[in-house]
Subunit: 256 residues, 2 copies
């Protein structure tokens, strides 16, 4: 299907193929290679690293992006990467780019994020990958200030590669101008849930998940959250080896 | 709702509240404290760290487990932990135990696993947690040999705790007798996808996700996969700080 010799860049997201964020992303990187879009046909925020195993998947070519090959997929962002890599594309992508997400994926948000999980999946499959997010949930958020950073970061990855098993998690603060870029670590944080309990027309209880973000490292200066709060773009080199290497000896000493 | 003074243990899984694996888990740990079950009302395998944000959640008390307080939830395993902690239970659990999963969650499987994501979520919320999985997908898999290990590991966690942000990923090989237990690291592996393409009655293509597990560290002896292949129970201390600390300096040197 592809006969191009330029770098092959697979673009996906979790807000769905019609979201303004993915259009901004394609616009930012369109000169870096052959861009193919394979994104969910409906919003998939909060899907984490979910895959579709109990029902069939659909993938259909569409013409949402003028001048680019694009597909919509019935599955999750991770499904999009798997289907793209193994079924739609006829060669391994040189880069997978996910986003630009409407809303933060900094700190602990990364583990709930379909956008970042798509980038993680690419890294698992050995493909250099990066996810971009803007700390603004609005549909009509202003992605313009992100574009030069998106392009520069993707250019660097294409030129220099990334270590095996490493991807980048890039977040933009909500601002017209950024102070610069900080390479940093994931902040320790959590969401304090406060379920909104309601009664349906049949008299049965139901809940909406709502929560408040709590940065548990407010004092630390070297985290993504600190960089964003100070007006910088945060870049966190990210991995999927979840081993807590420092705890191995401790648990070995247990009597089990 | 709870007036008990014993340790409070929240039990969940991703195979659903009727799965034999969760019954085996409850049976193994029933003497260690007050056990409350909050599990999905339908199978949620492969849901990863998905949360339910675009539709309401239901949680209903049931009597599936004789002698125990139990609830079924319409959401994902992570939703079960969030709802359990913030809505159902009136005190913080002393331990969250997830499983016993029907099928391996060793190596890269951890990132797709609803069972392990429930345990990860507990750790994010500061609750000691462990996930158990048996490398046998059969509905009537034999969980008996797992039980003494499950009990001993939970007892150790209740007595000694775990470092902040650390949980355990425990996998059992398919065997009648285990050689022992190995504390190890997550193997580098991936799934080689081979989508099964079919045509529906309306003439449209659809795909089933099928794949082959590939251990990319066959030679390494210190991984969970190596331990399982040799007949040992694998225990991986696991964290959710996804920062690739070793890559921070490398990316800092880029011109961006």
């Amino acid at each position: 299907m592809q006969t191009d010799t330029r770098p092959l860049i697979l673009v996906t997201n979790d807000d769905g193929i019609t979201a303004p964020g993915i259009r901004a992303l394609v616009d930012a990187i369109k000169d870096l290679g052959q861009v193919v879009i394979i994104a969910p046909d409906s919003p998939q925020s909060g899907m984490g690293h979910a895959i579709t195993i109990s029902k069939p998947l659909r993938v259909e070519r569409n013409d949402v992006f003028k001048g680019f090959e694009s597909y919509q997929c019935s599955g999750t962002p991770v499904d999009c990467v798997k289907l793209g890599h193994h079924q739609v594309l006829d060669r391994l992508p040189d880069l997978v780019v996910s986003g630009i997400n409407h809303g933060s994926n900094a700190s602990i948000n990364i583990i709930y994020s379909g956008t970042m999980s798509a980038a993680v999946e690419a890294a698992v499959e050995g493909i250099p990958a990066v996810g971009f997010s803007l700390c603004d949930y609005a549909y009509h958020a202003d992605f313009e200030p992100c574009k030069p950073f998106v392009k520069s970061i993707c250019q660097n990855i294409l030129e220099k590669g990334l270590p095996d098993g490493v991807l980048l998690n890039v977040n933009f603060p909500k601002a017209d101008v950024y102070k610069g870029l900080k390479v940093c670590r994931q902040a320790r944080a959590k969401w304090k849930e406060d379920f909104d309990q309601r009664i349906d027309p049949n008299g049965r209880k139901y809940y909406w998940l709502v929560g408040k973000f709590i940065n548990m490292e407010m004092e630390a200066a070297d985290t993504d959250q600190a960089a964003l709060d100070a007006g910088y773009v945060s870049v966190v080199p990210t991995q999927f080896d979840l081993t807590s290497h420092s705890s191995i000896d401790l648990v070995r000493d247990w009597k089990m």
